[in-house]
């Protein structure tokens, strides 16, 4: 990979972190950012020091630590405040490109930021490249992953949100300790009209995050609320457990497990969907998966139209047999 030097300024990467740990999709962003230019990391809140070695390993040359100067509780979690802070960092670093992970929260920050810095924005992208003339171009899939689209951002500055599991993250060939700059931002009154009166961080399940997992096993109405066969297989494969809206609405599993257009978008290497029909609302959130496996009792279920490996059968016999066989063969 040749390093492009046509961007007019560095690439600013918003580092998502949770409980002091850098979220894995961020490392994909850093890998993409390195190919586009000089990489500046943007970190909200405490804990940057502990993450610096990892950021350096992935090619970060300088890091901005954002301090929100406000007595308002949870101010830095307000998208409008975060957008103002990122905009301040863009101005200070003269960044030409801002990369974020494509989550609902970040997309909201991204669009407010883009408006503030007169940038074009693409979200849910799978990749970003710099064209010969220096323009930022993105790749994304459209229409339930049936099309590939290349989009050019025509403004001098660009904001791009990248979906998790878009590319393999790779450490930089060489690295040096990044310099740290503190950016103190006082939010505008307008940004503070919305307040967060309560915020409960989700406790880790011990399984990989749904959007980040390499293997996802999803269950639907056909489980009838019994996810034990799915969980057994998930434990075996280190997989995340997902569900359809029917299963989450029934309260069989928490709402955060919902995959689809109004839930989480997943693109794992392997997706196994059992006892779910494959409604467009669901498939819209998993159709970019590498390999799709489906187990359903109904040979007419739409999920079979997109499955690489489909089994017409009962999930309660197929899954335990699969787990037993994998356990026997993989040790």
């Amino acid at each position: 990979m040749t390093t492009m030097t046509t961007l007019t300024g560095p690439v600013l990467v918003l580092i998502d972190h949770h409980a002091g740990a850098v979220r894995p999709p961020t490392l994909e962003l850093l890998t993409l950012a390195r190919a586009a230019g000089d990489v500046t990391a943007l970190w909200f809140g405490d804990g940057l020091d502990g993450a610096l070695p990892l950021l350096a390993e992935y090619g970060v040359t300088s890091a901005y630590q954002v301090v929100i100067d406000s007595p308002v509780a949870n101010a830095m979690h307000l998208p409008a405040v975060a957008a103002e802070a990122v905009a301040a960092a863009v101005r200070q670093s003269d960044a030409a490109l801002v990369l974020l992970t494509s989550t609902f929260e970040n997309k909201e920050i991204g669009v407010l930021l883009a408006r503030e810095i007169d940038a074009g924005i693409v979200v849910d992208a799978n990749g970003v490249t710099i064209a010969a003339d220096g323009a930022v171009e993105t790749n994304q899939s459209a229409f339930a992953s049936t099309w590939n689209v290349r989009t050019q951002i025509t403004t001098p500055r660009a904001v791009v949100a990248i979906k998790p599991n878009s590319i393999p993250a790779e450490p930089a060939p060489s690295s040096a300790a990044p310099g740290v700059v503190t950016v103190t931002v006082t939010p505008s009154e307008d940004a503070l009209r919305t307040r967060i009166v309560e915020r409960t961080e989700r406790v880790a399940t011990g399984r990989p995050e749904l959007a980040e997992a390499q293997v996802v096993i999803a269950g639907g109405r056909g489980t009838n609320g019994d996810f034990s066969a799915i969980e057994e297989l998930a434990d075996l494969l280190g997989a995340a457990v997902g569900a359809t809206r029917v299963a989450t609405d029934e309260g069989w599993i928490e709402h955060t497990a919902q995959i689809g257009q109004t839930g989480v978008t997943v693109a794992p290497k392997l997706y196994i969907g059992v006892g779910l029909s494959g409604a467009v609302h669901h498939t819209g959130g998993m159709q970019s998966s590498g390999t799709i496996v489906a187990v359903n009792g109904d040979p007419e279920a739409p999920i079979f139209e997109i499955a690489d490996f489909g089994i017409v059968g009962d999930l309660f016999t197929v899954l335990p047999q699969l787990s037993a066989e994998l356990r026997a063969r993989l040790g």
């Binding site: 998208p79 997309k107 909201e108 407010l112 074009g120 459209a142 403004t155 009166v197 709402h255 787990s323």
Partner: protein
């Protein structure tokens, strides 16, 4: 309560969709429909007005057939409907669309105060979820996005939302822009009376000139992104479909191991 609900006419999710040579979306067969999440927003508006009185105004931006979304909003209780339509709007990005919607909402606001602007959390054709925040910024109003619950009291909106790694309760003073998820309610089917009443209503068509919007600020001219290439993806190959004869679990294990997927 005077409530504006932004609605969008989208291709039927079941219909085949493609790009034309200019990178614009074309629909192959299938009728367009009202974006499903807008049904949730319209239901919120209808419920609020049933409770507190007031008016629901549906607003859309788009080409001629987009007016269909407003007509469907009439069936779901909208009292009035506005269609911002102008040749110069074609090819708008999220900011151009927000400029058009905001101009229409400001004009409505000049007639009488608008208390609330509601949208669905995303348009299910593009799914970017960016419009609500862009619109709030354009209007200079606070935004509350992804509302799974909404209550209004003393001129303050309180919303609960579920994010990837947190659940939040947020508040904002009205007027505000609020986007709602499918968790907020179960939209009712249009009633016979609603359908009959909708037939009598007319969609008000407003042009950019009517709204004093600079045509070069919107549409393809004002867009900050452009599609340079769109190619259909090759269909998945070597697909396997088997019926379980008692060993499907073992055959799947074999497949997963062979393809190095586990």
């Amino acid at each position: 309560m005077r409530i504006v609900v932004c609605v969008k006419h989208v291709p039927d999710l079941q219909s085949e969709r493609a790009f034309d040579a200019e990178g614009r979306v074309v629909r192959v067969g299938g009728e367009g429909t009202l974006n499903e999440l807008d049904e949730n927003a319209l239901q919120v508006a209808a419920d609020l007005v049933a409770e507190q009185g007031g008016e629901v105004i549906a607003v859309t931006v788009g080409p001629a057939d987009a007016a269909d979304a407003v007509r469907r909003a009439f069936q779901r209780g909208a009292d009035r409907g506005v269609h911002v339509v102008d040749d110069a709007i074609a090819g708008s990005d999220v900011f151009g669309t927000a400029v058009c919607l905001a101009a229409a909402i400001r004009r409505l606001g000049a007639e009488a105060r608008v208390d609330l602007v509601l949208t669905g959390m995303a348009a299910l054709d593009g799914l970017t979820s960016m419009l609500p925040a862009a619109l709030a910024a354009e209007l200079g109003l606070p935004q509350l996005t992804l509302a799974a619950r909404l209550t209004l009291a003393d001129g303050v909106a309180t919303v609960r939302r579920d994010l990837d790694n947190a659940t939040e309760t947020l508040t904002a003073p009205l007027p505000a822009v609020i986007s709602v998820t499918d968790q907020i309610n179960e939209p009712a089917f249009p009633s016979f009376l609603g359908i009959m009443a909708a037939r009598k209503k007319t969609v008000e068509a407003w042009s950019l000139a009517d709204l004093s919007v600079d045509p070069t600020a919107v549409g393809a001219a004002g867009a900050r992104t452009r599609v340079v290439e769109a190619t259909p993806r090759p269909p998945r190959e070597h697909r396997v479909l088997i019926a379980d004869d008692g060993d499907a679990g073992r055959r799947l294990a074999e497949y997963l191991i062979e393809n190095k997927l586990v």
